[in-house]
């Protein structure tokens, strides 16, 4: 149907093509939108309308040439819980893509994934590998079963290291423990990090010593996704995570609220 006003900032409502359980409390949701899929680079996100509940930011964890978009979602509250109830054929809305995405112009990447942060990074890794670039991936989670996209990463041509807090797989401990113990050859030109903010902060501090450029994908409360409501702005720069980010170079955010506090839905500061 002719639609004279297909607008980037208006949700397109689509049926779910499928839902896949990836790990406890984590599912992937598939929809088809050719225009958005072709426009999305790794690290960019969509605003996902969970109809009747809320609209929330969600990284794209993969795209298909046929226009398939994959979103990988951890159940943490209202909207994500409702989403986890949905099945193939149920409707959701998407608008985007938004944000800057990762700069993958380097050649040798160190990729550090924590929990659901693996979503955008596995997409980035896929792209890198397609382009014949080298990647060392650190996959961290609490327990073995929460190592997101493990089997997919194992199939890719990358060096994969894993850590679990309970030691059920790989190094016992955190991502930083892997880095300290396992990575001897620091011959990377770029490091991409996404995961819980404390983990990102610790990783960035450690990697910085090695003199590698670091990109981090931040998570802040978002309302508009298009840079106008001010909800996601960082102190003291005023950079907006939705429009100037979500990916920042470590230098941009080193001396900022990063690792320290963020803001809730009211704009009040809450500790990280």
């Amino acid at each position: 149907m002719e639609d004279s006003y297909r607008k980037k900032n208006r949700p397109t409502v689509l049926p779910l093509l499928g839902v896949v359980e990836e790990a406890p409390e984590i599912k992937s949701f598939f929809v088809n939108h050719q225009e958005i899929a072709s426009a999305t680079a790794p690290g960019q996100f969509l605003m996902l309308w969970v109809i009747g509940v809320d609209e929330i930011p969600m990284s794209v964890s993969g795209v298909g040439k046929d226009g398939t978009l994959r979103l990988t979602v951890e159940k943490v509250g209202d909207a994500t819980s409702k989403l986890h109830e949905l099945e193939e054929g149920d409707l959701v809305g998407v608008r985007g893509p938004y944000g800057n995405g990762f700069d993958i112009s380097g050649n040798k990447f160190l990729i550090v994934c924590g929990g659901c942060g693996t979503a955008p990074l596995s997409f980035a890794t896929e792209r890198l590998v397609e382009q014949g670039k080298k990647a060392t991936v650190v996959l961290a989670a609490e327990t073995s079963e929460k190592l997101l996209f493990r089997s997919q990463l194992e199939k890719m041509d990358v060096d994969l290291f894993m850590s679990t807090e309970d030691g059920s797989t790989g190094v016992e401990g955190l991502a930083t423990d892997v880095l300290e113990k396992e990575i001897n050859d620091w011959d990377f030109d770029s490091c991409l990090v996404c995961g819980p903010e404390r983990m990102m902060a610790a990783t960035a501090e450690l990697v910085e010593e090695k003199g590698i450029s670091i990109q981090l994908s931040l998570n802040r409360y978002m309302k508009c996704g298009i840079g106008i409501c001010g909800q996601c702005s960082m102190d003291p720069s005023g950079l907006r995570v939705c429009r100037d980010g979500p990916v920042f170079n470590y230098e941009e955010i080193k001396d900022s609220e990063f690792g320290d506090y963020k803001r809730n839905s009211e704009g009040k500061k809450v500790e990280i």
Binding site: R10, E55, G230, R240, E266
Partner: protein, 302 residues
């Protein structure tokens, strides 16, 4: 960078240029206000702040429409005490900062105005056009209540601006504007967003979390212009235009209609923070030697 011909005055308040960051846009934190000031705005207005913190509505909170944007943010804000801290940060950076406030009762407005005044802001904008203040949801359509609210705030040392709704019921709007002037308002701001909605035909649902919201952007510029034009003929205090300003030409249209300055909000969606500098440069180039302030209301002469 701040061209001479762009300087304007709103009463005693001098602006380096006539572009103001509109209330509710980016103005949640001091850092964000500072950034907009640094990017070239003539002044920055905070998100409308209430006594207590508010979460606002659930999403979707914005939806784009033909040449416009509807939002139903629901006036989220951290409450006056936190906002005062943010205003200090913005003021410390040298910016011209206006505090936008709304209350549930007349005396709440007074209390908030007093606090904004004390923290060192340059002006106070009374948001009398928010559909969200439970008890006073239509203040801006009620001349008496408008007068009461303004009078309650007049103890402040700094100017009081009054932001009115885009009321198409023009006799009512004029009555309110005159009443605001009589009560001692220092400027009138027109217009806030216009009540609107959008429906998704696939899910058969209103898109916004709050069902209806406010329409802004170029779509409403012709409506905002006309409101400024009509009110300019009836009041003598300065008018600040708002609604769809994206280019130097848009701003000059408002100036010619009778505005002494303009607020810019949705324009950031299209031109990002450069919008302030670009609007100024475009206007300045177009005006050549002429001064913005000499053009205020000129369309009434022709």
């Amino acid at each position: 960078m701040q061209k001479e011909n762009l300087h304007v005055h709103l009463g005693d308040l001098h602006l380096r240029n006539p572009t103001l960051l509109a209330a509710g846009i980016m103005g949640l934190t001091g850092a964000s206000l500072k950034r907009v000031w640094d990017s070239g705005a003539g002044g920055v207005i905070t998100k409308s702040v209430s006594k207590e913190a508010r979460e606002g509505y659930s999403g979707p909170r914005v939806v784009e429409t033909p040449c416009g944007l509807i939002n139903s943010m629901g006036l989220p804000n951290p409450g006056i005490e936190s906002m005062l801290e943010e205003i200090k940060i913005a003021k410390d950076s040298g910016g011209l900062v206006i505090g936008s406030i709304f209350g549930n009762e007349v005396k709440e407005f007074a209390e908030l105005a007093g606090k904004i005044d004390k923290v060192g802001a340059d002006a106070i904008e009374l948001n009398l056009s928010c559909p969200h203040a439970e008890n006073l949801s239509t203040i801006g359509q009620n001349p008496k209540l408008t007068k009461k609210v303004i009078e309650a705030c007049k103890d402040s040392e700094i100017p009081i601006w009054v932001k009115l709704p885009g009321n198409t019921h023009i006799p009512n709007l004029i009555e309110v504007a005159k009443s605001a002037e009589k009560a001692g308002a220092d400027a009138i701001v027109l217009t806030n967003t216009l009540p609107a909605m959008s429906i998704d035909v696939t899910s058969e649902r209103p898109i916004l979390g709050n069902i209806t919201g406010g329409l802004s952007g170029p779509a409403i510029k012709p409506i905002g212009l006309r409101l400024v034009y009509e009110v300019y003929e009836k009041v003598d205090i300065p008018i600040i235009g708002a609604g769809g300003v994206e280019s130097g030409k848009d701003m000059i249209e408002y100036i010619l209609a009778g505005a002494s300055a303009v607020e810019i909000g949705t324009g950031i969606m299209k031109r990002d923070l450069d919008v302030f500098k670009k609007v100024c440069e475009e206007a300045s180039t177009f005006l050549d030697e002429r001064k913005v302030k000499d053009l205020v209301g000129s369309a009434h002469k022709n």
